[in-house]
């Protein structure tokens, strides 16, 4: 393992910010660390980089315990969440700084600096000071500074959050490309699910200081192990149902009975379960929804035009409201329709 | 750091700063090639610094011959040479009412009585011979003119300055109307000066007995100084680094009364006068 956290716990005063977190990154992996605001992501980053000493647990890098090793000996390139550009250095001096520490010759240094400034689209700002840059430009310089020394371990704490989508996607692709090409092991902290899922080989989803789930993006997205992950990894609709039968699992949603052939959920008959389905995965039944084997009756309660598509809110038998994403020609409010959803895209969580 | 030329260090009473800096020093260096490094404090501070070995001068010069003998004889020296006298009077600022009326010939003791508190300054009698001489002068004047309670009256209104230099500066800068000072101080600063009559100017060695009819006891140490003439004396420290140069300087003082005269001091009859076991290098 390139990077491993072993039962890491950190308290600020008495407040535990991170509680018994363990996970590892294999060499060459790109793992996204994902979780809501305040869940402890930055705390983990600081512990990995060596700027806080964890209350308990160990940090291992390249197989060795580095919990007591100072930051400069850890060889981890970090983009911090809060800007840490050196205000007394120009953009290119900032980027060159990490290279100088690694004894890169000055000619080669210039080359590398140019290359990475090119990458983040800031050729023209070479000579500017950080105070003369916009918020997004600063972020890009930090990214270039972290990448330029070509580290074998990269930790990025929300590197793209201040950028517009075009640039974000472009840099995201570049990070992915660099990662693919150089095989640098990368921990990518983000609060953006889409970003995480696009980039990462694996996701570590945190909630409230603990790890809530680890796995490949599609697995976590399609078969979320916990309701938290289900709702966190994308827009989610939930509605309750009652278990009627076990083999095959049959549930009643209001008056509609649904049989789930593929699900092997260990729930007892009669218990109430929570079903989860994404707005994208519901459609209005018409001739084309062949793959969607389940049906639910619903009434349209609200239609919102959000530019790229419409959000249609519907009420089903149970009284639960679901949101359906719909690309064009939305139905009218008040209309009664049948919803189509496929078993594969529905997850059932047991009570409790 | 430091120069190769020989030097002699002098610790002197503040009232002699001008004398040594501008008259004796240059002339002595001219003659012997030896630089004079002077340091100037109140006479009491001078003794204190020598006693405590805070300072270690080659030559010690006092504004009060007896003081030097009382304090330094035994441990630091056992001789001295009186080389000049000085007289006490009032230095004043002629732009003040006090100054103008003084110039108009009104008696100083009348005017002094009328001044506001702080208009007139004297030295700190606890620290400085100039200070207690002023007090003694008031007392002698009281006797002289039958001014009942004059001394105590004056002690209530005068301001006590810590150091001789401040006294004249106060008058110069407009902070005081006048001050009881030595003549040479007024001469130095080119300020107007009213010399007291011989009866209480402490300049006349012959009137030593008259002066001795008054005395002053310092607060702190209970040191009692009786009135005596202003006689400057010098000695060479037994612990001196440069005793040779020190002896030369004392000899130079003895031999150059004109120089001292120019500086506002008086070198009258009977001066210079040696006391104690004067080393043979010195010929009075």
């Amino acid at each position: 393992m390139r990077l491993e956290l072993d039962s890491l716990t950190h308290r600020y005063g008495n407040e535990p910010a991170v509680d018994d977190v363990s996970f590892g990154l294999e060499s060459g992996e790109l793992v996204a660390l994902l979780g809501p605001s305040g869940c402890g992501k930055t705390t983990l980053v600081q512990a990995i980089a060596g700027h806080i000493h964890p209350t308990a647990g160990r940090v291992l890098l390249r197989g060795a315990d580095v919990t007591d090793v100072p930051a400069e000996s850890r060889q981890v390139s970090v983009v911090f969440q809060q800007s840490t550009l050196f205000p007394h250095m120009t953009v290119s001096e900032n980027v060159a700084y990490g290279l100088a520490a690694r004894d890169t010759g000055s000619e080669r240094r210039d080359e590398v600096v140019s290359e990475y400034l090119e990458l983040v689209d800031l050729r023209d700002q070479r000579g500017a000071y950080p105070s003369e840059l916009s918020g997004g430009q600063r972020r890009r310089v930090e990214l270039a500074r972290a990448l330029a020394p070509q580290p074998d371990l990269l930790v990025l704490d929300e590197p793209l959050s201040a950028l517009d989508r075009t640039l974000r996607e472009q840099l995201r692709d570049e990070i992915a490309r660099i990662q693919r090409e150089t095989g640098v092991t990368t921990l990518f902290v983000t609060h953006d699910q889409e970003e995480a899922m696009t980039l990462a080989d694996r996701l570590v989803v945190m909630n409230d200081g603990t790890v809530s789930g680890i796995g490949e993006p599609r697995t976590l997205y399609e078969s979320p192990p916990t309701p938290f992950i289900a709702s966190f990894l994308g827009r989610s609709n939930t509605f309750s149902a009652t278990v009627i039968d076990q083999q095959p699992l049959t549930i009643a949603v209001g008056e509609t009975e649904i049989t789930l052939n593929g699900s092997q959920k260990d729930v007892s008959t009669g218990s109430t379960v929570t079903c989860h389905v994404r707005p994208r995965d519901i459609s209005f039944r018409d001739s084309a929804n062949d793959g969607a084997n389940l049906s639910l009756a619903a009434e349209i309660t609200r239609v919102v035009d959000i530019g790229t598509h419409y959000d249609v809110t519907v009420r089903i038998d149970t009284g639960d409201e679901l949101v359906v994403e719909c690309a064009g020609n939305p139905p009218a409010v008040g209309e009664s329709l049948s919803l189509a959803l496929s078993e594969r895209q529905m997850t059932v969580f047991g009570p409790g | 750091l430091g120069s190769n030329t020989e030097s002699v260090s002098v610790l002197a009473a503040g009232s002699l700063a001008h004398t040594f800096e501008d008259h004796v020093g240059p002339a002595f260096e001219n003659e012997t090639g030896i630089e004079v490094h002077g340091e100037y404090y109140g006479a009491n501070a001078v003794m204190r610094m020598v006693e405590d070995r805070t300072k270690h001068p080659d030559v010690v010069v006092s504004a009060d011959a007896t003081l030097l003998r009382d304090r330094l004889y035994g441990e630091f020296t056992d001789w001295d040479v009186e080389f000049a006298a000085n007289s006490v009077g009032i230095g004043y600022n002629d732009e003040t009412t006090f100054g103008r009326r003084l110039e108009d010939g009104e008696p100083w003791y009348e005017l002094a009585r009328e001044t506001d508190e702080g208009d007139l300054a004297i030295g700190d009698p606890n620290l400085d011979p100039l200070g207690y001489r002023a007090v003694q002068a008031f007392e002698l004047a009281e006797k002289e003119y039958d001014l009942d309670g004059f001394r105590d009256e004056m002690m209530d209104v005068v301001y006590e300055e810590p150091d001789e230099p401040q006294i004249v500066a106060g008058v110069e800068s407009g902070s005081r109307a006048g001050a009881v000072v030595y003549r040479n101080m007024a001469v130095d600063h080119e300020s107007p000066f009213l010399e007291f009559p011989d009866a209480y100017n402490f300049a006349d060695p012959d009137r030593a007995d008259h002066y001795a009819t008054v005395e002053f006891t310092t607060d702190e140490e209970g040191y009692t100084a009786e009135g005596r003439p202003v006689l400057y004396n010098a000695t060479v420290n037994d612990e001196a680094d440069e005793p040779e140069a020190g002896h030369q300087l004392v000899q130079f003082l003895v031999e150059n009364p004109d120089l001292l005269d120019d500086a506002g001091l008086t070198v009258g009859d009977g001066i210079p006068r040696a006391k104690g076991a004067v080393p043979e290098e010195i010929d009075v």
């Binding site: 806080i52 | 405590d52 301001y159 006590e160 500066a169 106060g170 800068s173 407009g174 310092t218 607060d219």
Partner: protein, 272 residues
């Protein structure tokens, strides 16, 4: 403070890293401490209590405890606003103002005292008017305060200015946008944020004021304050005689310092 904690946690494993600065710093500390140690070991501290119970000492202590806080208060009330303006505004003549602020630091205090006398001595127009009004500006506690203020005020100005300079201007902008004018913003945001620096400046000013000797000696040798009394004791009694008052002076200043720190929750004296 989390950052302190960060370093706390790692202190043990890291101290040797800063060996070179620690050695250099140790040298100057040693040089500062040596004279005190030599002084105290030479003189002993036997008769401190006796020395402090004389009426002269009592008067000196009382005068110092009266004047130094007043001088400090005047310096603070007048100096902190000036510091704020210097930190935030550009105006023609700013360099000149800055030069004036540090002049009292450059001039040896005795010379400064002499200058004060030329300005407010009793026969100058100002001094005469004040004396006529019954408030003599020299040889009085007012004179002591004038001398102390002149010499000590630059400290709080300089330190406070540094403190204001370190306050993020954007926070002031935010306060403005929330509806507060420049003065309330100063009061609510800039002042509390620069509090540490200002308190440090106040302590320095107090220390300088209570220890002020040169200018005080010129402007008001009487009534005696602790430093002028120390001088008199020194001349009359030698170096051993000054121990009681010198220790009292140090004690008072360090006590004030500790009190201000505790009260104002300034992490350390000389921080910002």
């Amino acid at each position: 403070m989390s950052l302190t904690e960060v370093f706390h946690g790692r202190r043990t494993s890291r101290t040797p890293e800063l060996l070179v600065p620690a050695v250099l710093g140790g040298l100057i500390l040693l040089y500062f401490a040596l004279p005190f140690v030599a002084f105290l070991s030479r003189t002993g501290t036997a008769n401190v209590v006796a020395g402090l119970s004389t009426p002269e000492s009592q008067t000196a202590i009382r005068n110092s405890l009266l004047t130094a806080p007043i001088s400090t208060a005047i310096s603070t009330v007048l100096g902190v606003p000036l510091a704020y303006i210097l930190a935030r505004r550009s105006f023609p003549g700013k360099r000149l103002v800055e030069a004036v602020v540090i002049l009292p630091l450059i001039v040896p205090p005795v010379v400064g005292g002499a200058m004060i006398i030329t300005a407010v001595g009793r026969f100058t127009p100002i001094g005469a008017a004040a004396t006529a009004a019954g408030i003599p500006l020299t040889d009085s506690l007012v004179g002591v305060i004038l001398a102390q203020t002149f010499v000590a005020a630059p400290f709080v100005i300089i330190t406070a200015r540094a403190g204001f300079g370190a306050v993020d201007e954007r926070l002031e902008q935010a306060s403005r946008s929330l509806g507060y004018g420049p003065l309330s913003t100063f009061w609510n945001v800039s002042l509390p944020l620069a509090r540490g620096a200002i308190l440090a400046g106040v302590i320095l000013t107090f220390a300088r004021a209570i220890g002020e000797f040169g200018a005080t000696m010129m402007v008001a040798y009487n009534p005696r304050t602790m430093p002028t009394r120390i001088w008199v004791d020194f001349i009359t009694g030698g170096i051993d005689a000054i121990v009681p008052l010198a220790l009292a002076l140090l004690g008072i200043t360090l006590a004030v310092l500790a009190a201000v720190q505790r009260f104002g929750r300034v992490p350390t004296v000389i921080e910002r």
